[in-house]
């Protein structure tokens, strides 16, 4: 306990300081009620996200281009949290979580390569990863095919995953497989990073957040792959993410076979059923699940503080804040009313108090 307190005193203080900069209930209110896109931006400039925004009076503000710019603050927080941690294994967990953004940029790179576009053309879609990313981006952008990228990243889990996926990519010629391989490799790395943590309390705390997070993603992926991509259940199971807490492969298989929302709900574990019991539309699952996740995160902040869960919870919370902000930004850009916008956001965003 004493060792844990000594080890986490500084990171926790850092996280608490960073957490104090999150959007307040007042910010949520004014952002939601902003009468149009420019008023929304005018208010956003006064928050911590203002630093990442361009000079809105001088530059043309395109919502699409703003989304990634807003992520700058999150990327900086990742770097700060990683720096504050002393142990290599704890840092590896943060880096594994961060690798999801690297994976997103790699996907953009692959899509640009596939469509014959240069970096400049897709620059607005890239996360501003900063120095925390150790991938050789300049070399990667100079590559001309996925096999070359895999060779460049051969010592990285991304490289191995790509190499495993390239035989099927060569047969099918679809980027989807490479993208799935990148995603799966991130979560495989995350799973290994959790089990690689030295302290039991660290492992337990990390699982408390990341296990449900993976479950949420798996549910949303099942819905997406099933409804939008029309994939078969055997494919959906194979594309599921590792490291979930409540959902087993068997659950996922049954969910993939469910015909409608009600049978889908029936196949979910009881504890999850309680959280999403009121859902009656495929599109509403994410709001309920994110709300549940935010509640778990908030609960973690109330318990004993000396474990890695605090840092992970903070990063997840910040990421979800960013996701909500982007949803809000898109809604404002489309001119949606606050009433319609609210339905797309987790409940914390519009007044349900944090636990």
């Amino acid at each position: 306990m004493i060792f844990a307190a000594a080890g986490y005193a500084y990171p926790n203080a850092k996280v608490r300081a960073l957490r104090s900069k999150r959007l307040t209930a007042q910010d949520h209110h004014f952002l939601l009620e902003a009468k149009d896109f420019s008023s929304f931006l005018a208010y956003l400039v006064t928050t911590t996200y203002g630093l990442a925004l361009p000079n809105i009076e001088e530059e043309k503000t395109d919502p699409g281009a703003l989304e990634r710019r807003l992520a700058r603050s999150l990327m900086e927080d990742y770097a700060k949290v990683a720096r504050s941690l002393r142990g290599k294994r704890e840092q590896e967990l943060v880096l594994a979580l961060f690798s999801r953004f690297e994976s997103e940029n790699l996907k953009v790179l692959l899509r640009a390569m596939f469509s014959g576009r240069g970096k400049q053309a897709v620059a607005h879609l890239l996360y501003p990863l900063g120095k925390l990313s150790a991938l050789p981006w300049d070399d990667l952008w100079a590559c001309s095919n996925p096999a070359e990228i895999a060779d460049f990243l051969i010592r990285n889990p991304f490289g191995q995953a790509l190499q495993h996926a390239i035989p099927q990519y060569n047969v099918q010629g679809r980027l989807f497989l490479l993208e799935m391989a990148l995603d799966l490799s991130c979560f495989q790395r995350l799973k290994q990073a959790i089990s690689g943590l030295r302290s039991r309390s660290d492992r337990k705390a990390a699982k408390r957040i990341l296990g449900p997070y993976v479950d949420v993603l798996n549910i949303l992926w099942v819905i997406r792959l099933k409804i939008h991509y029309k994939l078969s259940h055997e494919e959906i199971v194979n594309y599921s993410l590792p490291g979930g807490e409540l959902l087993t492969l068997s659950h996922l298989h049954r969910l993939a076979r469910a015909e409608d929302v009600s049978s889908f709900l029936e196949q979910m574990p009881r504890s999850l059923q309680k959280e999403v019991g009121e859902v009656c539309d495929w599109n509403n699952f994410h709001t309920y699940l994110e709300t549940w996740l935010l509640r778990l995160i908030a609960r973690l902040f109330m318990g004993p503080p000396f474990h890695i869960g605090i840092e992970i919870a903070f990063l997840m919370e910040k990421e979800m804040e960013l996701t909500s902000l982007i949803t809000l930004l898109e809604a404002k850009a489309q001119g949606l009313s606050p009433d319609k916008t609210v339905k797309k956001l987790p409940m914390q965003f519009f007044g349900v108090t944090y636990v």
Partner: protein
């Protein structure tokens, strides 16, 4: 050596049927810097560039064929130089014939060799695939004969096995792990034929890497492997025979091919140079710069090659209006001996000298070596630098210039090492012919400053020469001209007198102050007076005094003050020479102290020498780099800034290495 090669402007007018012969002679001589005719006044007369594209394409295809043959035959060693350049339009027929002949002889055996190599690769890959399945002891014939069951062999990532199993839970199937390879499982997957699509979908989504087995493979894996291994041996024997045949072809045609390739490259360059020519009807015109000494030989050879049907003229650069007015620049062809030539890189890094000014490379080289030696004086380290330089010189053709510079720096270090009596920092092995820097720090600093005075004075003298050569007499009264130089030398003389005698007489001081005052007034007035004279010459309306004269005087005053201050700082800057020489000696002391500290521990004898060696390597790498940077800095900022204007154009010979 102090001037670039003297050039003359050459003009050749040739009928269309003779241009190829002219090009061949030019290609032989090489030292011609072409001027694009279209960009001269002749362009306005209707001369336009024309290039024989079909001939160039023919050469391109010949080059591609020659490159392919060279790639396949793989001869090693450098290419031989072209003895004589032939007319590109005629030579193409011979080159075509020669390449075609080699192709007839070589392509078929090379193709057979390639096929044999591919067959070996295919066999090896197939054997590797089958070896993965070997532990399963499968009889492929029996698998092929299955009527209701479909099967696939392949690899999937380990972490996907459970998911694959789960994804097929509703289907009759079996997954048999056979082995492992690099975090992947070798798997034999089976299902009912009616579920084949489900199985394939599941496998594909589990990142399945199929092990393709051709239909000709049958029987047990072991037997198939034995059969393939014996086939592989047979193929290897066949390949060895073809390899010998290939080596014979390489021996027979390698040198010739390389020569042909050089010829093709040369002819292509000559053809491409045609873009600089001008053509009107059936007459070609080409013009460029050529060393004066080569003109007569070139003229003689061109007239001989064209039976006198070509006009070859030369024009003195002074008689060319564009040159006089500065529109056209005469290119610079350096003319330095071999040991100085590598320093041309350092000169051109700063700027290309103009044709009219003194070529500074020789001064740069001498002062560079002196400064480097002073700062890095040690016989041992000098010898190592010399050795590294020699290695680069012999083994790294691309960096031959740097090899020579390193060797010269090494020799300079050794000479100064002898003067300082230092070998690898040991100062008691040989007596110092001059002094030990650490023992006479003040004297060394003063010597460095005076060395700086010498370098700056040289820069000032070179500037005076440039001013006179370029008739910029007005600048003689400026701070960088004679007035500035006299004032600088006056100051240096006073300091030297004070250091030698310990005091200055009132008379000397009075004379110096009067002279300095007069020179400063001259320097301050130089610009305003020039402005007034220019105004008078132009005879503009509005009086004889140009507007803003007061401002000009004030500016001139500040500039003079700034320039004089710069003389002082430039001189003091040379004290760094002593500082770095002392740093060099100081680092030795640190390394020896460290070595002495570790000598006392267990195994200290070895550690002592290891510390000394690592320390010396560290000093050579770090100090060598720092001293080089400082030397270049002194050269550029303290020396070149005094006289070197640059802005010239480098000479581009007609044929450059491709």
């Amino acid at each position: 050596m102090f001037r670039p090669v003297k050039l003359t402007r050459l003009t050749i007018q040739a009928p269309e049927d003779r241009i190829s012969a002219v090009m061949a002679v030019l290609g032989d001589l090489r030292l011609l810097h072409l001027i694009r005719v279209e960009e001269t006044h002749l362009g306005r007369l209707g001369y336009v560039a024309h290039i024989d594209t079909s001939l160039l394409e023919h050469y391109d295809s010949l080059l591609a064929r020659a490159n392919k043959l060279l790639r396949d035959l793989g001869p090693t060693g450098p290419s031989s130089d072209i003895r004589k350049v032939h007319q590109p339009d005629k030579a193409v027929f011979r080159l075509e014939e020669d390449i075609a002949h080699i192709e007839t002889e070589a392509l078929e055996p090379l193709e057979r060799k390639k096929k044999a190599k591919n067959a070996i690769s295919e066999h090896e890959a197939l054997i590797a695939r089958l070896q993965l399945l070997e532990p399963a002891e499968i009889d492929l014939d029996r698998l092929h004969d299955l009527r209701y069951v479909t099967w696939r062999a392949g690899l999937i990532p380990e972490e996907n096995l459970n998911k694959l199993e789960q994804s097929l839970v509703d289907t009759h199937h079996t997954l048999i792990p056979v082995g492992r390879k690099k975090q992947r499982v070798v798997l034999l997957a089976m299902s009912l034929k009616e579920d084949k699509e489900v199985l394939l979908r599941a496998l594909k989504s589990a990142f399945w890497d199929p092990l393709e087995l051709p239909p000709r493979i049958h029987g047990t894996i072991k037997k198939a492997l034995d059969r393939l291994s014996s086939e592989l041996e047979h193929l290897k024997t066949e390949f060895a025979g073809l390899d010998t045949e290939g080596a014979e072809l390489t021996r027979k045609y390698g040198t010739k091919l390389k020569y042909l390739r050089e010829e093709i490259l040369l002819a292509r360059q000559l053809l491409k140079a045609q873009t600089e020519f001008g053509q009107i009807d059936h007459t070609y015109l080409l013009t460029g710069w050529i060393p004066v000494a080569l003109f007569e030989e070139l003229k003689k050879r061109i007239l001989k090659a064209t039976s006198g049907n070509v006009l070859v003229d030369q024009v003195d650069p002074k008689d060319i209006k564009e040159v006089r007015s500065g529109i056209l620049k005469i290119p610079i062809l350096f003319n330095n001996p071999m040991l100085i030539r590598p320093f041309e890189r350092l000169t051109t890094l700063y700027g290309t000298p103009s044709y009219e000014e003194l070529e500074p490379t020789v001064f740069l080289a001498v002062s560079f070596l002196l400064l480097f030696g002073m700062m890095f004086g040690d016989m041992g380290h000098g010898a190592i630098l010399c050795g590294i330089g020699y290695y680069v010189f012999r083994k790294m053709y691309r960096y031959i210039d740097y090899g020579i510079i390193l060797m010269e720096c090494g020799v300079s270090s050794m000479i100064f090492g002898l003067l300082y009596g230092s070998i690898f920092g040991l100062e008691d092995l040989v007596p110092a012919l001059w002094m030990h820097p650490m023992e006479e720090i003040n004297l060394f600093m003063v010597m460095s400053a005076f060395f700086g005075v010498g370098v700056i004075s040289l820069g000032l003298i070179l500037n005076l020469l440039n001013v006179i050569r370029q008739h910029r007499y007005g600048e003689l009264l400026s701070t960088s001209g004679l007035a500035g130089a006299l004032l600088y030398w006056l100051g240096v003389g006073l300091v030297a007198r004070y250091l030698l005698s310990g005091e200055l007489s009132p008379f000397e001081l009075m004379c110096a102050m009067v002279a300095a005052g007069a020179l400063i007034i001259l320097m301050i007035l130089q610009r305003p007076v020039s402005a007034v004279l220019a105004q008078r010459r132009i005879g503009k309306k509005g009086g004889r005094i140009p507007p803003g004269l007061g401002g000009t005087i004030l500016e001139s005053f500040i500039e003079v003050f700034d320039d004089l201050l710069r003389y002082l700082t430039n001189t003091v800057s040379f004290v760094r020479v002593a500082a770095f020489a002392l740093t060099h000696a100081g680092l030795f002391i640190a390394v020896f102290s460290l070595a002495d500290m570790v000598r006392g521990v267990h195994g200290g004898g070895l550690l002592y020498w290891v510390t000394l060696i690592i320390g010396n390597v560290f000093i050579i790498a770090l100090e060598g780099m720092v001293v080089s940077i400082q030397t270049i800095r002194l050269e550029y900022y303290e020396f070149f800034s005094k006289f070197f204007r640059g802005g010239g154009k480098p000479f581009q010979p007609l044929i450059e290495e491709e």
